[in-house]
């Protein structure tokens, strides 16, 4: 289930924690296997991670469902992770999310018909100073407006 390359990567993280505390590497392990499985987790992967880190499957599931980093439904090639917490919300994130939804003809949590983009509401990403903001891939986009969003979406195509 987990490729040898992924296992090697997970092992690096495991080695950073004391022996017997393999489970500390669960978040990184989930990130690694998710990336390998085109950005989405499933129950087989949860079991595989649990097995590899010697922890109960439900404990892995707890982590995988608590954090917004992990996807349990199919996602687009690009995931727009839109912050909707207090600072961004006060600066109009709700309107921008609606704008995105209308423009892409999707709801949050769904994928566009061409499979290119999906939108997701996430909790605070720690960039309150630049709110409203979103994360796409490894990149943060701050001080967003509708014009800026149009431009960003154009670039994604």
């Amino acid at each position: 289930m987990i490729s040898n390359e992924a296992k090697k990567e997970i092992d690096i993280w495991v080695s950073k924690y004391p022996k017997g505390r393999e489970s500390s590497a669960v978040m990184q392990a989930l990130t690694i296997v998710q990336k390998e499985n085109s950005g989405i987790l499933n129950s087989d992967l949860i079991y595989a991670v649990a097995d590899y880190l010697k922890m109960p499957a439900i404990s892995v599931q707890e982590v995988a469902t608590f954090y917004e980093n992990y996807n349990h439904k199919p996602v687009g090639k690009h995931v727009v992770r839109f912050c909707h917490n207090i600072s961004c919300m006060l600066n109009g994130s709700d309107d921008l999310i609606s704008y995105l939804e209308n423009k892409l003809e999707v709801k949050t949590g769904e994928v566009t018909k061409d499979g290119l983009v999906s939108v997701r509401k996430v909790e605070c990403l720690g960039a309150c100073v630049g709110g409203p903001m979103c994360q796409i891939g490894d990149q943060y986009y701050e001080n967003l407006t509708t014009d800026k969003l149009d431009k960003i979406l154009e670039e994604l195509k």
């Binding site: 949860i46 109960p56 499957a57 439900i58 404990s59 599931q61 707890e62 469902t65 608590f66």
Partner: protein, 748 residues
């Protein structure tokens, strides 16, 4: 820890440094509302219901996680505390459905009780309430997760007590759900305790669903009889039927927990196969008759068929009461027969009695090492296994010698796989290794034995242990050289100065041994009885489909035309109809008063919780009347207490060991038929929900790859009617049949 003084609600009380406020309050009888706090579980402090005012602290503090300090002044009922508690209550009730009238927890619900005290009668919350879809979690526990208040007691129970982390809190914030991963159903043998710890109606008993309201039921304290522990329980009955069994606290026995077997077996009592009327077989036809006629028929049968008293044989299962065992053996002995036995599932009866345990239940908690031989303790003796697990969590190590690798809920260091026919030689090697290491003389019969690394490691651990125990399990019962094995273990324990925990016995066997329900020197035992010298059998709670180690020889004997079989039984089935001549319907668990003797030798008596159904009668009364009709002396009992008192005056049979050294051909493939834990006694076998649970459905013949080849079977085949499972985790030249099916014999 030093003793300090604190003030709670104006009362000065003594406390230990580090204790939590709630612990002291509970001790003093001061009520603090709580949901997540449970005395046997870790402190989570996530429900916030136990907020109390601590003088000096700016905000109310959770009583469960605030340690006391000298001079601390705590108010549990002042305005600040009340305000905080009411606020928390309001939050907790936001999402809780108002379905108390159809909730099984209604009337015994902690949330309901606390809401009466602290809740408001009107909710300010106008938004939609959260709804949580239910995942099925098996046949035993009903989930209504919309009612869940996320106290996480069930999650912590799984992680800390059951040792199998099954429930968890997924999602976050408003979306948190308490659920298992996927829906395979709960695997734990202690799962029913989650129902008890759940403070709301989220987890309730599935077989009990909509059966009765808690205030309608008649609660009677009782004792569970399925294992050696004698867990303290409360039976709750409604209209003469046991509807539910819950745990009763007893720290030295079962703490707060009971096993699922003890909790859910009661369903078997109302099974359709209950024997309700006395029946006699005349010319091969079964006829329902009145008691008087059945008793006369029985007496005639006994007198006509037993030409001399020694032709009477008496057999019982391991689950009868002390009173029944005592009277039955007294009847047989007064009649003149010494052919008495309850060890019907053992294949080697050459020792005089079982090996005596030298450790108590609560002492098991503080052992530093355990060597488990022939036992899957987790499923077979769940509460004893729980104590071993506690010891392991405190640093004890465990080695096992089993024929298959078992899924214990604690870490074992070394699992030595040994087929039954090789256990003796394994123990010989360990004993020799011990002799060599300690420097004592090696007995002659061990001269050819060569211990390997594994034997040496086990020996080292035994020597290093100061306070260890050797556990003998029920898998040894069917071992043809079990006497020699117990003898060896006794020697090993002696030279290493370790304790013994004998779990080969089960149910109420200690009571049977105590009253001498075994032949003394002249009598025949449960194996030798099946010959042409026994013309009358009296069976007590014996199921001819399951219970005998050699079902065929028993059946052959019973079916003989001039053999008369009297069966006192709570249930009827096909084989009973074939084998018996008369069926005397007997009260089952919870239907008659009786006494259980547990692992510690503790004598626990219980009264009847309900009346036995139909015309069935308590076993001790049936035996008494039979004895009277046989004109035997000394059966003038008025109640079962008199029987008990007399029974306890008799002295216990002592174990005696012959120096047996049976030669065994260990190249043969052997089969070990091990009943799944819910197929051990006649009541559990008929408990529907138990049978439908994961543990109840255990039915596999485990065999290694090479042995499968020798037997010419593969993974799709059946072995003696049981699905084959090929695995590395089983000893060679051996088939471990773990099943809920009736025992079958090779070639039979």
């Amino acid at each position: 820890m030093s003793e300090i003084e604190i003030e709670i609600d104006g009362n000065l009380v003594k406390a230990k440094q580090g204790d939590s406020i709630i612990k002291i309050a509970d001790r003093e009888g001061i009520e603090v509302p709580r949901f997540c706090y449970h005395k046997k579980l870790s402190v989570a402090a996530n429900c916030r219901m136990c907020l109390v005012d601590v003088e000096g602290a700016p905000k109310a503090q959770p009583a469960c996680s605030t340690p006391v300090a000298n001079g601390m002044k705590v108010h549990t009922k002042n305005d600040k505390a009340k305000f905080a508690q009411k606020a928390v209550m309001e939050f907790l009730l936001i999402n809780h459905p108002l379905d108390c009238p159809i909730c099984d927890q209604g009337g015994e619900c902690e949330l309901q009780d606390v809401a009466m005290e602290y809740g408001s009668d009107v909710s300010k919350f106008n938004e939609g309430k959260r709804i949580v879809p239910d995942k099925g979690i098996g046949a035993l526990i009903q989930t209504d997760m919309t009612r869940c208040i996320h106290c996480t007691r069930c999650v912590r129970f799984g992680a800390e007590v059951a040792g199998i982390v099954e429930m968890g809190g997924t999602g976050r914030g408003e979306g948190v759900k308490i659920e298992p991963f996927l829906t395979e159903g709960i695997q734990s043998e202690l799962s029913g305790n989650m129902i008890d710890v759940c403070p709301v109606g989220a987890l309730t008993s599935k077989p009990f669903r909509y059966e009765a309201r808690t205030w309608q039921m008649n609660a009677v304290p009782s004792v569970a009889r399925h294992d050696l522990v004698g867990s303290n329980i409360i039976t709750q009955s409604y209209r003469g039927k046991v509807k539910r069994v819950v745990a009763r606290d007893n720290d030295s026995i079962n703490e707060t927990w009971i096993s699922d077997r003890d909790r859910f077996s009661y369903e078997g009592l109302s099974h359709e196969s209950r024997a309700l009327k006395p029946k006699v077989k005349i010319d091969g036809e079964w006829q329902e008759v009145e008691w008087q006629e059945a008793l006369d028929f029985t007496i005639d049968g006994i007198k006509n068929n037993a030409k001399n008293p020694e032709q009477l044989g008496v057999l019982a299962s391991k689950y009868s009461s002390l009173e029944e065992y005592f009277l039955m053996q007294k009847l047989a002995r007064s009649f003149g027969s010494d052919n008495i036995d309850f060890r019907i599932d053992q294949s080697d009866l050459s020792d005089g009695g079982s090996l005596e345990s030298s450790i108590t239940l609560s002492e098991i908690e503080s052992i530093d090492h355990a060597l488990i031989v022939g036992s899957y303790t987790r499923l077979e003796q769940p509460m004893i296994n729980h104590r071993i697990r506690k010891a392991v969590l405190n640093g004890a190590s465990v080695n096992t010698i089993n024929s298959k690798q078992f899924d214990f809920n604690f870490n074992t260091e070394l699992d030595l796989l040994s087929a039954p026919q090789k256990i003796l030689s394994t123990l010989h090697a360990i004993l020799k290794s011990l002799h060599l290491k300690i420097g004592t003389d090696v007995p002659k019969y061990l001269s050819k034995v060569i211990p390997d690394d594994v034997h040496n490691k086990i020996a080292d651990d035994l020597i290093a242990s100061k306070n260890g125990v050797i556990v003998l399990g029920e898998h040894l019962n069917s071992n043809p050289s079990s006497s020699a094995i117990t003898n060896l273990i006794f020697q090993i324990a002696q030279i290493t100065d370790l304790k013994i925990a004998n779990l080969m016995l089960s149910g109420n066997s200690h009571a049977a041994e105590r009253v001498g329900f075994m032949p003394t020197k002249n009598g025949m035992n449960a194996i030798s009885m099946f010959n042409e010298n026994t013309r009358v059998f009296m069976l007590m709670d014996v199921d001819c489909d399951y219970d005998f180690i050699n079902l065929q020889s028993a059946a052959d004997c019973f079916n003989n035309e001039d053999v008369f079989v009297v069966s006192m039984s709570s249930f009827e089935n096909e084989s009973l109809h074939t084998n018996a001549n008369v069926i005397l319907p007997m009260a089952s668990y919870y239907e008659a008063s009786g006494t259980h003797i547990n692992f510690d030798g503790l004598v626990q008596s219980f009264s009847a919780s309900v009346k036995s159904p139909g015309d069935s009668k308590p076993g001790w009364k049936i035996i008494k009347v039979l004895a009277d009709l046989l004109e035997l002396e000394g059966f003038d009992y008025i109640n079962s207490t008199q029987v008990k008192d007399e029974a306890l005056q008799s002295s216990k049979l002592k174990s005696s060991f012959d120096d047996v050294n049976a030669e065994i051909d260990d190249s043969q493939i052997t089969t070990h038929w091990q009943y799944a834990p819910y197929a051990t006694d006649s009541v559990s076998r008929r408990a529907k929900a138990l049978q439908e649970s994961n543990i109840g459905m255990i039915n596999s013949a485990f065999v290694s790859k090479s042995t499968a080849k020798r037997l010419d079977i593969n993974g799709d085949d059946l072995y003696l009617g049981v699905p084959v499972s090929i695995t590395d985790a089983v000893a060679e030249d051996y088939v471990f049949v773990h099943t809920n099916q009736a025992r079958r014999v090779e070639g039979g």
